[in-house]
Every structure is written in C-alpha cells, then in structure tokens.
C-alpha cells in the first residue's frame, strides 16, 4: 500500500488536472510527462496543463473488472485523442455504453478511480464524459 500511496502522490499533477509537458525544442505536447520528447528525442522540462478536451478514438467495455475496479463494472475504457495531440487511455463516465461513438467529443472530469478496502486511500484521477453544453467553449 505504501508504494501505491507514493505513486498516487507523485502523479497527482497529471492525474488530477492533466498536467503534461510542452517540448521547448519542437513544440510537441506530451502526456503523460516524461524526460525525453517522443518527437525530437530531446530532454523536456516545461510543464503545460492540457485543456481536457478531445474525442473518442476507440473504446471497449469492461464487463469483468480487475481487482479494485469491480464496483464500477461494467464500464467503458477509451483511447481519447486530446485536442493538443496526445492520446490518453481513460474510463468514460456519465454515459451508457450504447451511447458511445467513435469521434464523440469528450471532456476531462476528476472522479474516484479506485479505493483500497474500507481503510485504504481513495485514488482520484481523470475520466472523460460527453462534452456538457458550452463548458470549456471559452
């Protein structure tokens, strides 16, 4: 459990608010943050928070969930193409599987991801839902 707590803590910027990087050499937007730009292979250090808007690239519904996620089954995991470019894998929420379509515009929300028993920590992180009204239209 201690390792999990440390991971959750270390990754909170990207998990809670989609904090990624912008490569200072070639301008590539990077998520999750890493030390080397995948496009130009140079080191990156500039933090950049992504808008959270994107569209469903592909998706799959999970009926038999791994440990810690059983309570949410069935749920849909999607690969989201963010408007800044990076692809991100995340759960979809507030939407029925039947209503999901490839290309559907989605936006990031922060939700409960998993809990470890009744006395363990609660992990929060990003999920995506169908774009709600003009939110984020600014």
């Amino acid at each position: 459990m201690t390792t999990k707590v440390a991971d959750d803590w270390r990754l909170r910027g990207q998990r809670y608010r989609l904090e990624g990087e912008r490569c200072e050499h070639c301008g590539e937007m990077i998520f999750p943050p890493r030390d080397i730009c995948p496009a130009c292979k140079k080191p990156t250090k500039t933090t950049h928070t992504l808008s959270g808007r994107g569209e469903v690239y592909t998706y799959s519904t999970v009926l038999s969930a791994p440990q810690g996620f059983e309570v949410y089954a069935p749920y849909t995991v999607a690969i989201i193409k963010l408007e800044e470019g990076p692809m991100i894998t995340a759960q979809l929420t507030d939407v029925a599987s039947a209503d999901i379509e490839i290309g559907m515009p989605v936006e990031m929300v922060t939700r409960r991801i998993r809990t470890q028993g009744d006395d363990g920590p609660i992990t929060y992180g990003y999920k995506f839902r169908p774009v709600f009204l003009g939110q984020g239209a600014e």
Binding site: Y16, Y72, R112
Partner: protein, 365 residues
C-alpha cells in the same frame, strides 16, 4: 463608582451584529455541480410505504465514482472559469460538508490540487451540518475583507444520506456550489452586509462511526430551522434598514419545499421572490450545498441592481444571512460555465435498486 453608561471609545466595535469587512467584498465567480442521476420520491414511497408520493418530486444522486470531493472540484472549476482568475491567486479554499470522503484528511487539499491552487493557501474543511458552506463563505469574506488575500474560495458540497426508510431519505441529495470572494470592484454581486447567528440546539446529529444521521423529529422545526433563520434574517434586515420589499429575490435553506415557503412568508417575502432560488423539489436537499446552489441559480438570471437575501441554516444550530447586490459585471461572466438549470436538465432517472448500489447501501462482504 464607574458609570456603566459611559460612551464607548470612538474606534470600538459597534453594537451591531452585522459583520463589516475593512474593504468592500463580493462574489467574483460562482459555480455549481449537480450529479445527473435522479431518484423520484415515488420510488422511495413504493419501497417503504407501499406507494404514494413523497415530499418532493425527485432528488439528485451521485454516481458510483462521485463524492463530495469530485462534486466540489467541478463546482470549483466552474467558479474559476467565471472569475477569470488563476487558481494560484486563491489564498484560501474551504470545503463545507457533512459527508467528506475521509473522516481524517482534508477534502480541501484535493480540491486545491485539482485546481492547481497549491501550495500557498489556507485549505481546510468546515463542519456545521447544512450551513458549513455559508460558514466558509463568511470566512472567505473575512480573508478578502481584511486584506489578507485578494481571493478566497468557499464551497458547500454534500452527498447526503438518509437512513433507509427514514423521512430524510426522500430529500437527502448530492450536489454543491463554489464561490470565489474578491474585492467589490471585481464583483458580480457585492455584499451589502452579513451576520451569523448560532446557539446550541440539538435538532440533528451524527455520532462518530455512524453511517446515518439522527434527528429530533418535530424539534427540527420551530426551535431549530424557523427560529434561527428568522432571527438571522430579521437582524440583518433591521441592521441594514431594509425590508423584504427591498429584495428581488430571497434564497433560504431548503430541506424540503414546505419549510422555506413558510419561513419566507413569515419574513414578508412572496412566493415570486423565492421561486427562482427554491430547487429542493427537483434536486432534493443538498445540505451544505442547498442554500448556496439556490443562490447560484438566482445569479444565473438576476439583473444588475437586483438585491438578494441569502439565509442558510445548519443543524446544531445556526444561520448565516447575507444581503447582495448584483453589479453590471454579471452579464460578461455568467455564460462562462454551465448554469444550475443546465445541470437540472441533465437528468437520468434511476430506481431504488440502482440507488442502493450507487450510494453504497449494499453489503458486499
């Protein structure tokens, strides 16, 4: 012998209970979040009293991956969008709730982290039943009004639970609202005055390690809800030299539909003054979020120059009263986030079985 009637020093605090900040303050941003699931009262009546109707039409229910923190985060993001400030300009984030996901560990630090407001801020959770959010609002006005900071955020959010079969189960709902308090010159609504009224009155409580609250039955009415709201609202209006007719809107704590309608009438308000801010028939009682969400709904439609009376109630018991005046800056900011009515319209009905699953009422092991 000392003359007890000697005049007070010129710079002493006045006798008035109205709390006056050193500099004028107001609301610079506001935002609400209401989960999409709705449990109709008829469903609860079907399960627990063989059919019939309940005290409201339906209540908002949080989904499986939602809790007070996630509700607070979305409301807070909406408030930041409307305020047009950077989250790191907030010097305080206070979350008022009676249903925090952790018994020990602040919700406010999670909200602050999600907004990107860390690390230079006050962050704490406030507990005072249904008035925890308005208590946070008074405190945020203190931070800004004293000049300790330019912006402070107050949130009231809950995922309230009633004991299955109890009368509170019909109304105990999920939702929340966040306000960013700032200097009056940037405000969409300036504060004309506020006060707080608190006594020790055991009308409703939840002991440590208990899942569901207990209440004093009829004791929750006259000595608790009505006495505290009438006392704070009357003292504020008298102190400001204002009457019910000076306000376009009144927003009162709304545990159901009946109580706020009755207390409004006693205070001299008409049904048309309270309608816009009375949401309990459609979303239930969101506890610490209730009065604040009603206020948010009024901000969604009010016009510059309109005055609003906001009065909360928290069991235990206390009431915060605020008088607000809308400024010309409202029109440029209100469309920068979804409105309360948008969230009310985003609605998926569920039955009692799904409700027991979503709200963790099933024993899995």
């Amino acid at each position: 012998m000392k003359d007890l009637k000697e005049p007070r020093l010129e710079n002493s605090v006045s006798d008035s209970p109205i709390m006056k900040p050193d500099r004028p303050v107001g609301i610079v941003g506001y935002g609400t979040y209401i989960p999409m699931y709705r449990l109709p009262s008829t469903e609860i009546a079907r399960v627990w009293s063989g059919g019939g109707r309940g005290p409201i039409k339906e209540k908002a229910v949080a989904g499986l991956d939602e809790d007070t923190v996630t509700i607070a985060i979305e409301a807070a993001r909406n408030a930041v969008s409307r305020a047009g400030i950077e989250a790191c300009e907030l010097r305080a984030i206070w979350v008022g709730s009676e249903s925090p996901p952790y018994a020990v560990k602040p919700s406010s630090t999670l909200v602050a982290e999600a907004l990107g407001a860390t690390p230079y801020l006050l962050a704490a959770d406030i507990e005072f039943a249904c008035k925890a959010g308005s208590e946070a609002l008074q405190s945020a006005m203190g931070i800004v009004g004293s000049g300790m900071g330019d912006y402070a955020m107050a949130i009231g959010a809950d995922t309230a639970q009633g004991r299955p079969g109890d009368v509170l189960e019909y109304t105990a709902a999920s939702g929340g609202t966040a306000f960013i308090v700032g200097p009056a010159e940037r405000a969409i609504a300036t504060c004309l005055g506020s006060l707080s009224y608190a006594t020790d009155t055991p009308d409703f409580w939840r002991r440590a390690h208990q899942h569901y609250p207990s209440h004093g039955g009829r004791f929750t009415g006259e000595p608790a809800y009505f006495h505290h709201i009438q006392s704070s609202a009357t003292a504020l209006m008298e102190g400001l030299g204002m009457a019910a007719s000076d306000f376009q809107y009144a927003v009162l704590h709304q545990p159901n539909v009946k109580f706020p309608a009755r207390v409004a009438k006693r205070l001299g308000f008409t049904q048309s003054q309270i309608e816009a801010g009375l949401l309990s028939n459609l979303i239930g009682n969101t506890y610490a979020g209730a009065a604040l969400t009603g206020f948010s709904a009024v901000l969604d439609i009010a016009k510059p120059g309109d005055r609003i009376l906001l009065v909360s109630f928290g069991s235990g018991a206390g009431s915060d009263a605020f008088a607000w005046e809308i400024t010309g800056q409202i029109d440029a900011r209100r469309d920068k986030a979804p409105k309360v009515q948008d969230y009310i319209n985003r609605r998926q009905e569920i039955d009692y079985a799904i409700y027991t699953r979503y709200r963790g009422k099933l024993m899995m092991s």
